[in-house]
Subunit: 596 residues, 2 copies
């Protein structure tokens, strides 16, 4: 079966668009170059194809279950993670001294998308472990790093993120789990947690829970949250007091076991503080931001898988004739010949390839943020990451779900059955707008914080980035009209943002239409990333050494035409959204709760 992303597309994004080989100019990556990058990507592709993809359906059909008090998970999941670890992917971006490959995050991310495309729910386990390792590396003491980082990077220990509680869901301010000093630099935790992915299983030597809790006497609200490391198995080898309350039975994404956990039911749940007391949310958000980009890319990779699957089907399946063909004995044409099928393929291609390009552009910002010698460059990269992260998480998970919907529609009844994978992609993908911060909350984050932070500095940088692309694109005659169109859209968005953030509406009214703001910004960013690709495609069509385009001609023309699709059919959706925002339309806000 086909596996996303297409190698030629990944190559185009990494090299034509992002010039990723320039990363080897940073001292940290000086051992690397295009060749090592490509070797890593080839290995990822092979393991994803051989070990992750084959059990994607099996994991859906046999969801994790409780047998004699233990979580039973199909063995292929553990075997795939084992192969992932053995190839070094859990430690890929870490120091060579720690056994890592010291690879740029861009390349790590480009490798990881193969696993997400092949099997999102199996990829979730190492995804969480990698995030936990990053957090411990950033905030842990030397002793904590010495104890936990090695086994995490080897994949012997798995990590989790433990935030939600049954009574409060998204509202972290209401976390009630408490931590009491044990008089010996440790803590005893007590509380109930919900929606914990990978919270309990037998696949690892240990599970390291990263738990938000409140130290006794800490302030109310998010300011009183601290972060604790709670191992499933304590250092003395005893099982910690973390009880599995139950499994959640999900519609999709089933291979990732999802649990309700009780910490300290027996009064003896040992935890250790990570970093400073009452700084837990900031640390967790460091981890969450990474996770949010990962959620966006996971959604996008399902869109990409659905795109390639339905594209193959549309190329091979004869169905009907063109309108106007009067001869019933004329042969049927392939599905792909119908304009409406192409519309649904273009929609998918726009989201899948555009989303991947955006996700890897973000990963490159992570490298710039971490490695650039200029402090200003590092700060700017961080601000761009701040403002675009909620967009890739929320807008792209919504769009990716719509893309999977189109894949099903192209395949008709067949797409609705378990004989084909697209129905599972759609079910799996439905989680992405919910977890790691529901999309409505991302929208509030985007408009309420990111667009205004530091006097709009992050927003201003994004504007500058988009403006720069309109200038570049204008140099290619065939992109001039698109450049103008993006400039107008950008001006509209700037105006809306300025009106909204300066109107003194008060926070409730200002944020009442945050989801519309998210959608508007998302379409702007989608158009921008496609214009970037189009510019690179124009460049590519000029050919290397003055003329040789080779077998990429169709591919590059496809990039150009998909950009045209985005500008013709998606970008114009900004207009009614901008109207709603500019006029402070309060229709949803004003609906009385008794009127429903």
């Amino acid at each position: 079966m086909v596996l996303a992303p297409r190698p030629e597309d990944l190559d185009f994004i990494l090299h034509d668009m992002l010039r990723v080989e320039e990363l080897a100019e940073y001292p940290r990556f000086e051992e690397h170059g295009r060749e090592t990058f490509e070797a890593v990507l080839e290995t990822a592709r092979r393991i994803a194809e051989d070990k992750f993809q084959p059990h994607n359906r099996a994991a859906d059909l046999a969801e994790p279950k409780l047998v004699d008090g233990k979580v039973e998970i199909i063995p292929e999941i553990g075997q795939a993670i084992e192969a992932f670890n053995q190839a070094g992917f859990s430690a890929a971006h870490h120091d060579e001294a720690l056994g890592g490959m010291q690879l740029p995050w861009t390349v790590v991310q480009a490798a990881f998308v193969h696993f997400q495309a092949a099997n999102l729910s199996t990829a979730a386990y190492p995804f969480l472990s990698i995030a936990a390792a990053n957090l411990i590396r950033a905030q842990g003491t030397d002793a904590q790093k010495a104890r936990y980082l090695g086994p995490l990077l080897k994949g012997r220990y798995f990590g989790t993120m433990v935030l939600s509680e049954p009574h409060a869901g998204s509202s972290l301010s209401d976390v009630r789990t408490t931590a009491k000093p044990d008089g010996n630099q440790g803590y005893r935790l007590t509380g109930s947690k919900m929606w914990i992915s990978g919270g309990e299983h037998e696949m690892a030597e240990n599970i390291l829970h990263l738990v938000l809790a409140r130290i006794e006497g800490a302030p109310a609200g998010v300011k009183g949250l601290s972060l604790f490391l709670v191992p499933r198995i304590r250092e003395d080898g005893a099982l910690n007091d973390v009880r599995l309350v139950g499994l959640n039975h999900k519609m999709g994404y089933r291979g990732t076991v999802n649990t309700a956990l009780a910490f300290g039911d027996g009064g003896d749940c040992h935890g250790e503080l990570i970093g400073e007391a009452n700084e837990g949310l900031a640390y967790m958000f460091g981890m969450m931001n990474e996770a949010r980009i990962g959620v966006g890319l996971g959604a996008i990779m399902l869109a990409y898988q659905g795109y390639l699957t339905s594209l193959d089907y549309a190329r091979e399946r004869p169905q009907g004739r063109h309108p106007g063909e009067k001869d019933p004995d004329a042969p049927q044409v392939m599905l792909i010949e119908h304009a409406d099928i192409r519309r649904m393929l273009l929609k998918q291609k726009a989201v899948a390839e555009g989303g991947l390009a955006l996700g890897l552009w973000l990963a490159r910002l992570v490298d710039r943020h971490g490695q650039d010698p200029s402090e200003r460059e590092r700060i700017e990269a961080g601000l761009l990451l701040d403002i675009v992260t909620p967009i890739i998480k929320a807008f792209f998970s919504d769009q990716a779900l719509a893309a999977n919907d189109a894949a099903i529609q192209i395949m008709g009844g067949a797409g609705y059955t378990r004989d084909h994978p697209v129905e599972q992609y759609w079910r799996d993908n439905r989680l992405n707008p919910i977890h790691e911060g529901a999309n409505g909350i991302q929208a509030i984050d985007l408009l309420g914080r990111k667009a205004t932070m530091r006097d709009g500095a992050a927003f201003g940088l994004l504007v500058r980035e988009i403006e720069a692309e309109t200038v570049t694109a204008r140099q290619a005659p065939m992109l001039e009209d698109l450049s103008d169109q993006l400039s107008s859209a950008l001006n509209r968005v700037r105006h809306v943002t300025s009106v909204l953030t300066s109107a003194q509406l008060g926070p409730m009214k200002m944020l009442a239409n945050a989801s519309e703001y998210m959608e508007m910004m998302g379409h702007l960013v989608l158009a921008w990333i496609w214009l970037r690709q189009a510019s690179a495609a124009v460049e590519g069509l000029r050919g290397e050494d003055g003329g040789h385009v080779g077998d990429r001609e169709d591919f590059l023309k496809g990039k150009l035409h998909t950009c045209r699709y985005v500008f013709a059919r998606e970008l114009p959706k900004i207009s009614p959204l901008a109207d709603t925002l500019e006029h402070f339309d309060m229709t949803t806000f004003d609906m009385d709760t008794e009127w429903f």
Copy 2:
């Protein structure tokens, strides 16, 4: 658990908006009146609650399976259908002489939506049987009616629609199943059929397959299709040569067994012709049109169920605080207090209640079409049915799916689990844009046939209907602005339609953006049906006997405000669609198949 539709809403639509008691003025219904109508609706509600709703999840968890060559279906499905039949619903609109209740179709449809809301896949069996009975009543010979109508109306026999074949899906022109005269007025059929709902099971004394096939020597294409009745069990008691090839394993809608059938593998499949030879498609389309309205209403009722379920949840679940609330000790507010949750509830309410209003308006057209003493009225009703049927099927099934998506999002992680029904509604609903003519084909039907038929007569009647409502609404000062807005939208749509249908583009280019046309028309119709409801709500708020509004005040204000939501947030989506259509944007059409 809550059951859709809400009684006060159904009452409002039937009486305030549609004045359904006036139907008793037609001689056929003169025995009836508001009281008998209400008794029927109460019975439907009770049986739907008691017999259909309780096994909705059970049928999803235990899909039909093959055991020793027989289809095994959970027994609750048969029991529910039995209760449905015993209450007389299968025969509800048929002649009293045939054991029916001679009820208006509007009331039958209003009753039936309860079963669809409670359990769409169980309701599908009587839905198909009712459609088969209508077809036999319309096209069968006296002998066929005598033989089959009675058992169908009593629910002893079930019906099916047998169109698709494995190699051709939506392309009926390519039907290969053949029928050979047996020399004794009967036929022997041979061919493979696919996607047959209710195609095989043990719940009925007999299953009557209504099969499209080609009589030997008939013309190619749809002009050579005839309709055959093929009973599972022949009149002589022998099993007919209809072999179950396999079951399709669907993502949702699981209670309805879906089959691949082989007719005449053993050369002995007996069938009888219905009506004239080579007229099969026209007959089947008579049945399909009814089915298409039913598919639209089924989708809408799932939207309605999801709306009520997520509304209850949003009213009862505390979560977070308002933006700007700085005190973390302040109590959490209910989900419904958040503007973004209200946005998602309003979206659902707009689709659910608006869709039901449209569906029952169509049902009332069926009564006018069948019973009005004026031939002109009957013809006009038929034309309006022709043009609005693809819209309720396609636009509303898309919108209803989006509504279910919103229900899941409101409920967050909980909505993604099997602990709540909304994930199932979403999965079940995903079939509706596919079956009974995929939505892309409905769009081609709307623009390519319905909008132009009889020199645009059907389109003109719809325009007249919408214009009439703008005149009515303008009389209420609080609806004046909405009336103007609808008039402008209508003018835009008229212009687009006239440009498109007169541009001599040729059929391929004219239909390249048919889906955009469908979406534009759908938004127009949604706005119109809401303005109709708003007018009725203004009337209701004036009160009976000059002032008494009673406990309907909140409900009626909710209708007014939801209408405002539709005009503020949904109707403006017309504008970019109209641009695409007016400018003959050929972006999807021009995408080379090699560029994907």
